[in-house]
Symmetry: C2
Subunit: 262 residues, 2 copies
C-alpha cells in the first residue's frame, strides 16, 4: 500500500487556489492514501464567526466534490482537514474521501486555543474506518497530546493514523507522534502545513516537517521546515498488527486495565 | 528541592559492594531526593527462582536498614529498586525510603520478558506519596511504555516521577519518558544502570543515559552511555502543577473523558 502526505502552504480564504495546488501535485502520481493538512482548503487563522460563515462547507460539499474527481479517477483515498458546517454548528473536521465519495467525517475532539471560540468540539466516539482490508484512524492536530485518544483508535485495530495538522511549535508534534506510533505500534502519517496566515495585523507561522513513522518508530519520510513536499512510501499495513516487544511481552495484552481506574 | 540520580554498574549478587558504592558517592553530597537503578543491590539477570530465594529481601530488610543510615543522617529520601520477598512471593519493587524509614513500596506492575518467570506482578493501585509538600510517583522500568500507568500518577498530582530502570535498548526509554514528562507536565528522574550482567553464558548490557526532564521536556541533566554518574539539579516542584499549554488549554481539563471508553 502506498501512503503519503502533501505538505504545502494553503492561502487563507482562497479555496480555488488551494484545491488547484492539490490537483496539480497529484496529476502524475500514484498513491493509495494521501493525507492533507488541517483546514487545507481555507487556511487556519479564523478571527471571527463571520469567517466561518463565509468559508465553512457542508460535507459533502464543494471541496469533497472537487477532490472526488481525483479519488475516483485514481481509485485512491484522501484524508483532508476542512472547516465543516453542519446545521448551525462549525467543526474542525477531517474527511476520509474514497473513490465513491465521503466515507467518514471526524470532528476534532480536542480544540486548540482560539479554535474554542469558533468551533464546536467533536462529540462522537473515536472510530476506525476500513479502506479495503486496512484499518485507519483519524486525529486532527492537538488531539495528539492526549495518549488516551490515540489508544481508543489503537485498541480498535487502527494500522495507520492519518493526522492532518497545523502545528506551530517546531519539532514538538513530530517527537510526540513518533512516540505515539511506537507505544501503539502503528504507522503514523503526520501532514503539517508550512507558510503563514496573516490577518488583521496578526501572524501565525506553521512549522512543516511532516513525517511518516513506522510502528517501530522509524522515520520513513520527512519533509523540511518550509518546503512544499509530496512524499509517498510503500508500507505493509499488517506490520502494525504485531504488538509484541519481546516473545513474552505484548503491548496490548500487558496493559493492566485492572489498575487503570482514572 | 534538590533531586538527582546515581547511575552506576551494580555487580550481580554482591549486595555489600553495591551498597558501598552508594554510600561512598553520597559521602559529601547534599540532595533531598535520590533515585537509584532498578534492582540496584542485586543486579538484574536472574536465571532461576533459586537466585531470588538467595538474594531477595523483605522490606524493611538489610538494604533499607543500611540506606537508612544515610537518609537519617542526611535527612533525605532514596527511591531504589530491589528484589522484594513477601511471604512466598517475589516482586520487582521500588522502595521510597525517608529519614524515618520505609515510606512506600511500589511493586512493578508491567513485568518485562523473563521477569515474568520469577516475579509476581504488582497488584496495588498506582499511588502518589508525599515528601513534605511534594508529591512523587514511582514507576519501574518497563512501566514507562504504558501511558495509562503514568496518567494514573499524574492525575493524582504527582510532581516528580522516580523511575528506577535497567534499560537495554539505547535511547528508547529516554525518548519516551521525555514525552511522558511533557504530556503530563511533570518532572521525571530516569535512573538507568550501566555495565553488564554475565551469568551462565548469558550476557545482558545496560545502556545508561539516565536523565532528569522538566515538565516542559527540557533535559536538566543527562549521564553518558557507560559512565558512573551522580547528577543533582535544583527544581521547583510546583512548576509541575501548571498544566496549561495556552491560556485556553489545560492538558488535564481538556481531556475528553466522555470519549475515552476503552
Amino acid at each position: 500500500m502506498k501512503i503519503g502526505f502533501f505538505q504545502f502552504a494553503p492561502q487563507f480564504g482562497k479555496r480555488r487556489e488551494n484545491l488547484k495546488a492539490v490537483a496539480e501535485v497529484l496529476a502524475n502520481v500514484s498513491v493509495d492514501l494521501l493525507v492533507l493538512p488541517e483546514l487545507f482548503n481555507t487556511g487556519y487563522l479564523f478571527t471571527s464567526k463571520q469567517d466561518l460563515i463565509e468559508l465553512a462547507e457542508p460535507v459533502p460539499g464543494p471541496t469533497t466534490l472537487f477532490l472526488q474527481q481525483l479519488t475516483e479517477r485514481k481509485q485512491m483515498s484522501i484524508v483532508h482537514g476542512i472547516a465543516e458546517r453542519a446545521q448551525d454548528k462549525f467543526y474542525n473536521s477531517a474527511v476520509l474521501l474514497g473513490p465513491d465519495g465521503v466515507r467518514a467525517v471526524y470532528r476534532k475532539a480536542h480544540l486548540f486555543s482560539e479554535e474554542k471560540l469558533y468551533f464546536a468540539p467533536g462529540d462522537s466516539p473515536f472510530q476506525v474506518y476500513n479502506i479495503g482490508q486496512v484499518k485507519i484512524g483519524i486525529l486532527v492536530c492537538f488531539d495528539y497530546w492526549f495518549p488516551e485518544a490515540v489508544r481508543q483508535l489503537a485498541l480498535q485495530g487502527a494500522q495507520i493514523i492519518c493526522h492532518p495538522s497545523n502545528l506551530v511549535l517546531p519539532g514538538y508534534g513530530q517527537q510526540v507522534t513518533r512516540v505515539r506510533a511506537m507505544e501503539n505500534r502503528m504507522f503514523w502519517v503526520l501532514c503539517n502545513r508550512t507558510g503563514k496566515d496573516v490577518r488583521e495585523g496578526r501572524e501565525l507561522a506553521f512549522t512543516g516537517e511532516s513525517q511518516i513513522v513506522s510502528p517501530k518508530g522509524e522515520i520513513l519520510a520527512k519533509a523540511g521546515l518550509d518546503e512544499q513536499s509530496l512524499q509517498i512510501v510503500e508500507i505493509e499495513p499488517r506490520a502494525a498488527d504485531d504488538k509484541r516487544v519481546t516473545s513474552m511481552n505484548d503491548l496490548f495484552k500487558d496493559r493492566r486495565t485492572d489498575l487503570y481506574t482514572r
